[in-house]
């Protein structure tokens, strides 16, 4: 499988009142052709900022360094004009909250057609045809009518289908989906996940799926990276993640979720809270909350160690890797 996206040593900093704050700090990963990569972590771990860095959609005070290779280009060095050709065309994005990411003043069909018109050499009539075809492809009933409807006339699940149709319209090579089902109810979430799985099987698109829900990861992803405080702490295939999680944070995260199948009197918890971006501990960033903390953890940051089945940023496994 060929690699379509290669992120190397990505550092994204924001200038704030506290000075320069690195929200994403040295992230490496690759996405291969046709695979779904899950990015897991809690609020503030940098997962959304990573995706915005890839898309070149950072706020004014944000700046990315490192390398984001997409095909033969480094996305951090291409001009804005060139980026516009890639964005929405070769790399598309699905956002969490479809109500705020669709334009309320335009019919949804026109918004899908806009991307087609912009990126492909087609006439207006062809763009409309394509938009209707996409609406049908995402399982919308009465696609011709919905073409002319506004976002407020649709339910949350239907809006998210429109977002997916929009992302799919130009046959992108990579779709970045940032918490695509978090705002939806479980029965609607099941429909949308089912749809995304179908889309992937039919088109062979790669997906970068950002989520905090390990259940969604287990259902959708091939490989997973776990992020904590702006860094990748664990990277592995999805089976290994659930059978042998290595990093204490990953383990803690899994133990703290109530599950339908298991009965527990108390949930295991991770004490404390995620450190703020401008107050990162000097050693391992998880050390203050870790149950297996050692003296070295508080002094030196562990590197992302290569283990047999996975990568893990933790001093516990240093000997194993050597």
């Amino acid at each position: 499988m060929s690699v379509i996206l290669d992120v190397r040593n990505l550092v994204t900093t924001f200038s704030t009142d506290y000075g320069k704050v690195a929200v994403v700090d040295g992230v490496d990963f690759v996405i291969k052709q046709g695979e779904t990569l899950g990015v897991v972590g809690e609020s503030g771990c940098g997962k959304s900022v990573t995706s915005l860095s890839i898309m070149g959609l950072l706020a004014q005070n944000g700046k990315s360094e490192g390398e984001i290779r997409f095909h033969d280009k480094n996305l951090l060095q291409v001009s804005e004009k060139e980026m516009q050709k890639i964005r929405g065309n070769e790399i598309a994005m699905i956002f969490q909250e479809p109500m705020t990411s669709l334009n309320p003043l335009h019919p949804v069909g026109k918004q899908i057609g806009e991307a087609v018109l912009l990126h492909l050499k087609v006439s207006k009539a062809e763009a409309k045809q394509r938009a209707i075809q996409m609406l049908k492809a995402v399982g919308m009933p009465r696609a011709e009518e919905i073409y002319n409807e506004y976002p407020h006339q649709l339910s949350g699940g239907m809006r998210q289908r429109v977002m997916i149709a929009m992302a799919m319209a130009c046959d992108p090579k990579l779709i970045i989906a940032d918490e695509p089902t978090t705002a939806l109810d479980v029965t609607i979430q099941a429909q949308i996940l089912d749809l995304m799985q179908d889309v992937k099987e039919q088109t062979g698109t790669s997906i970068m799926l950002i989520t905090h829900d390990l259940g969604v990861v287990s259902e959708m992803c091939d490989r997973v990276i776990v992020m904590y405080a702006g860094q990748v702490v664990e990277e592995t295939d999805v089976e290994t993640l659930f059978s042998e999680p290595k990093h204490p944070y990953t383990v803690g995260l899994m133990e703290s979720i109530p599950e339908l199948g298991t009965e527990k009197e108390y949930l295991d918890t991770i004490p404390g809270a995620v450190p703020l971006a401008h107050q990162m501990p000097t050693g391992c960033r998880f050390a203050p909350r870790c149950s297996k903390v050692m003296p070295i953890c508080e002094q030196k940051q562990p590197p992302l160690l290569e283990l047999s089945n996975q990568k893990c940023r933790c001093w516990l496994y240093q000997e194993v890797s050597e």
Partner: protein, 326 residues
């Protein structure tokens, strides 16, 4: 056992206004005739998707929105018929915890002022006793007395939810209604709050109505569970019985839709088609029939009654026998 709280045929309709004269043209039937009991010391979970009326149920019990019809019996008194003043006094016994800890605490007040207010309003204790009580309660929820002089913005989401819990507990209520108390929190913080609530439940023998969309959380915390769909209770049962034998087709679909991290426990998924119908114009007969795989002519015409199918397990479905004998 005598129920502590009995809900009888509770309804809450919100009028829809339209036109220049602002005439009422219809009603959103947010809660449409529900019955249930809450027994002392138990935690009743109410689950359902957005728009099913679970939050409205909680708010209507406390009369944060006035019920359209029905009775809420608490210690033999009908809360729906109390005067405003009597109801205000009654709220000492029934307290609420809200979903969003960022919106439900007054940002201008210190934690001490927030907690003190409840005690003063209900005229509890002398000045000294109140101060002692507050210091006690802040430690019960896992914070420290020095936190009392800070403002809500000094706290993280999880800590704020602890403060909300302290505010509800400080007046020693008999019943707590918690409306999605952990939905706004990250998983690692969510588990801290769930454990705290479990502790408090034991320590104070709290009776609780726990409203949530998350079945796994409800299963973890509750003793009995009511499943709501479009303003009605479709199934209510003991936790064990409900999760072992979900009997309403909606409950079955809801349970199967939850993504499971553990692959060994994966079941066949029942995919529901379409969206929740509008509560302003609910379908005839059984409100679930347009999305139900088993629906018959009977379901389209006649609404089913909630009936007992086994001990402490009630289902509102015409086809219970047929479906569950397959």
């Amino acid at each position: 056992m005598q129920p502590l709280l009995t809900i009888k045929n509770l309804k809450k309709y919100f009028p829809i206004h339209a036109g220049i004269l602002n005439k009422t043209v219809g009603h959103v039937k947010a809660v449409d005739g529900i019955h249930f009991n809450v027994y002392p010391g138990e935690t009743l979970g109410i689950v359902g998707e957005s728009g099913c009326g679970k939050s409205t149920t909680g708010r209507t019990i406390l009369r944060l929105s006035e019920p359209t019809e029905g009775e809420v019996l608490f210690n033999g008194k009908d809360l729906a018929k109390l005067s405003k003043e009597e109801m205000r006094r009654m709220r000492k016994d029934i307290q609420m915890i809200f979903q969003d800890p960022f919106a439900s605490l007054n940002p201008r007040k210190t934690i001490k002022q927030t907690l003190m207010e409840s005690l003063v309003v209900h005229g509890i204790g002398s000045k000294e006793e109140r101060k002692k009580r507050i210091e006690e309660i802040i430690q019960v929820v896992g914070l420290r007395p020095e936190h009392l002089d800070r403002h809500p913005h000094d706290f993280s989401g999880g800590q704020r939810q602890r403060i909300s819990i302290a505010r509800a507990l400080v007046v020693n209520p008999k019943v707590i209604i918690a409306d999605e108390p952990v939905s706004a929190l990250d998983v690692s913080i969510q588990s801290q709050i769930l454990n705290l609530m479990k502790d408090l439940k034991k320590e104070f023998q709290l009776t609780m109505i726990f409203i949530s969309h998350d079945l796994s959380v409800v299963k973890h915390l509750c003793d009995r569970v009511a499943v709501m769909y479009l303003g009605r209770v479709v199934e209510i049962a003991d936790k064990k019985s409900l999760f072992a034998n979900p009997s309403h087709p909606y409950t079955q679909a809801l349970l199967s839709a939850i993504p499971q991290a553990n692959k060994a426990q994966k079941k066949e998924r029942i995919l529901l088609h379409g969206d929740l119908p509008s509560p302003a114009n609910p379908p005839s007969g059984c409100t679930f029939h347009p999305r139900c795989r088993f629906a018959t002519e009977l379901c389209k015409s006649t609404p089913p009654e909630l009936r007992e199918v086994s001990e402490a397990h009630m289902v509102s479905c015409h086809l219970y026998e047929e479906i569950n004998q397959r």
